[in-house]
């Protein structure tokens, strides 16, 4: 049972949630709520935006301003919210399909703008809600209902994509490190700019049953065994890193001006031009 301060953030009237027993998504929601508590946030100042899919049902259960958008579009909606009211703390949760397939364009441009939004990517390597179709993060040779002979598309590395597109805080954890999830989300929210926290989670129902990880615990153990801290990974060869998941704070640039602050300067210039 979560702590009382965490429970206060839940819309328990909308429970039970839709996630399968043993789903990793609850671990991420719990970590996010602990991070919000640790930061002393007031629900009045929080907006949680999401896309479509299992992951994106998360905001519905949180008692704050919540915005369940359309598939892939959450960051574009969140950009409008943040730019209209920069005082709000905006957290955006989405799945791997939202982030790297249908919403890939919104994702790279949110990274480029460095807008003050904390994006939590709940990556379970599959389209779970629609029944287990391959996503852009499905590993090569893994099985999915739309890859019955094994996936042939090379997967995206979401963190590398974010770094390449200009995000100023990029980190990764797995659901096997709930404490690290909390710490990284907390840092991501505190970061003055666009932050990406990729959290590897599992869909034992749709991905696991086709890929020898059908029990929740199989996935938990898989993540535990595959995780390598960034500092250790830096000293490893690419062969040694094959099949590993590099976790921790991967990339950070401090001092880059956040987008709404840059727009505030546009307003100053425009007003100066008219006066």
């Amino acid at each position: 049972m979560p702590r009382d301060d965490v429970m206060k953030w839940l819309r328990s009237q909308f429970m039970p949630h839709i996630w399968c027993p043993g789903c990793g998504h609850g671990i991420i929601m719990h970590a996010m709520l602990r991070a919000l508590c640790a930061l002393g946030k007031d629900p009045d100042e929080i907006v949680i935006s999401s896309g479509i899919g299992c992951s994106s049902r998360l905001p519905g259960y949180v008692n704050t301003c919540t915005l369940h958008t359309a598939h892939g579009r959450s960051l574009a909606f969140a950009t409008g919210v943040k730019l209209s009211n920069p005082a709000l703390t905006v957290v955006d949760v989405m799945g791997d399909g939202d982030c790297s397939a249908i919403g890939g364009n919104h994702f790279i441009h949110a990274c480029r703008r460095n807008i003050g939004i904390c994006a939590i990517v709940m990556n379970n390597n599959i389209y779970g809600m629609t029944g287990g179709q391959a996503s852009p993060t499905t590993p090569e040779n893994a099985f999915a209902s739309t890859a019955p002979y094994g996936a042939i598309d090379p997967p995206f590395d979401i963190c590398q994509l974010a770094i390449g597109a200009g995000a100023t805080f990029v980190a990764r954890a797995t659901i096997a490190q709930p404490q690290m999830c909390e710490t990284l989300i907390k840092k991501g929210i505190e970061h003055d700019g666009f932050s990406v926290i990729e959290i590897m989670t599992h869909c034992h129902t749709q991905f696991g049953r086709k890929n020898k990880r059908s029990r929740p615990l199989d996935n938990f153990n898989f993540f535990k065994d595959a995780s390598v801290m960034k500092a250790k990974a830096d000293a490893m060869t690419s062969e040694e890193l094959t099949g590993k998941i590099v976790i921790g704070e991967l990339h950070r640039i401090d001092g880059a001006l956040e987008y709404t602050n840059r727009y505030a300067k546009v307003i100053e210039r425009a007003k100066g031009a008219t006066s």
Binding site: D44, C65, V81
Partner: protein, 379 residues
């Protein structure tokens, strides 16, 4: 003080938006609507508003919806293929009941079609472009003055009914420059969305008031916690599979406009009282059509003109009444498409007059002489 200006239609749309209280524009460049975004980029920050050029058309309307939820009056603009892309999230704004204004400066299609040439090809897309049922409010300006006046009205209607309102302009009206008179902003009648009167603890976000079927709308950040979703939801804004809740929601979002249809529907007529023949046109086509009607009347031809200002809802009862009461025998409809509004006009008249469609799809506007000859053909 009212002021005379010499503006193009696209500028009038943007300036009217600002005057109506628009403080956010999510845009993407596309011909022939780009000037709306350009003017917004220049004007909005002067008022503390925000313009953002998004990564694509869908991002433009997504940011616009987000801004509206955060409490700003917000607008997006596009043309042809961009309007196709906007359909996804227009649907979102209809079901989630988010006010916004979307301008479509129509160009020739399908697809990339004729970026710099006019058409009226998006009439049915405006009505049915997004999937699912919804009420559509779409204005069709025929002059630069109307670009201004109808944009102000569009904001008012979107705030009143909590839904998107469309300005279905076209390349001719958007790019044409003519004299307009802008009113003193303080004299404008401005409607703002209803805010909840109850404390946050008792706020039920989609519980509509009985007198208008519109729920009061909180803004993110003002202390009310609520859930917004594109899923069909119950009064709590939470997804539902309950058939009673579903029916309540989807019928209400249509009823909230339909029951006030007479407040929304607008049209103008000229010379209908003694007319045998009626020309029905909208948008830029009304310019040559009006000239043709006036020319024919000066020659003694009993011809009138009917111009819907709201193409959606279409003034069907009003048109039928005029046809019946004036004893009109023939109706001529020139359109820059294959007869998208003609179907609606024909339906409205219920066979009480002959209906004749005349189409033009070559990227040009009708000339008055063409419309004169269409009338003469059927007379």
């Amino acid at each position: 003080m009212p002021k005379a200006e010499f503006w193009q239609g696209n500028k009038a749309i943007a300036m009217a938006g600002v005057d109506a209280g628009c403080r956010f524009f999510g845009g993407y460049p596309i011909t022939p609507s780009t000037e709306v975004a350009e003017v917004m980029a220049e004007e909005l920050p002067k008022y503390g508003g925000a313009f953002i050029q998004m990564e694509d058309e869908i991002g433009g309307i997504a940011a616009t919806i987000g801004a509206s939820i955060a409490g700003r009056k917000a607008m997006t603009g596009t043309s042809g293929p961009g309007f196709s892309l906007k359909q996804e999230l227009l649907g979102y704004a209809y079901i989630a009941e988010i006010p916004l204004v979307c301008v479509d400066v129509q160009r020739g299609g399908p697809s990339t079609g004729l970026p710099t040439k006019v058409s009226q090809g998006d009439v049915m897309q405006a009505r049915w472009g997004t999937h699912g049922d919804h009420a559509t409010i779409a204005y069709s300006p025929f002059s630069v003055q109307e670009c201004y006046d109808l944009t102000v009205k569009a904001f008012n209607m979107s705030e009143r009914f909590r839904q998107p309102v469309l300005i279905m302009a076209d390349e001719v009206v958007g790019h044409m420059r003519e004299r307009i008179v802008t009113p003193d902003v303080s004299s404008l009648n401005i409607v703002n969305r209803k805010k909840p009167a109850c404390p946050p603890e008792t706020f039920v976000p989609y519980l509509a008031d009985e007198d208008d079927d519109v729920p009061p709308m909180a803004s993110f950040g003002d202390g009310y916690h609520w859930h917004v979703t594109g899923l069909t939801s119950n009064d709590w804004g939470f997804p539902t599979n309950n058939s009673l809740d579903i029916d309540k929601k989807v019928t209400r979002i249509i009823r909230k406009v339909e029951r006030f249809r007479s407040d929304v529907v607008e049209y103008v007529t000229e010379g209908c009282d003694d007319a045998d023949i009626l020309v029905v046109s909208y948008g830029c086509v009304s310019r040559p059509a009006l000239r043709a009607v006036r020319e024919l009347r000066s020659r003694g031809v009993k011809v009138g003109h009917f111009r819907p200002i709201t193409i959606w809802p279409f003034p069907d009862e009003e048109l039928e009444k005029i046809v019946v009461e004036s004893g009109i025998k023939r109706v001529v409809v020139p359109e820059l498409n294959m007869g998208q509004l003609f179907l609606e006009i024909d339906r409205a008249i219920h066979g009480k007059a002959e209906t004749h469609l005349r189409t033009l799809l070559n990227g040009e506007l009708f000339k008055p002489a063409q419309i004169i000859s269409y009338v003469e053909e059927v007379a």
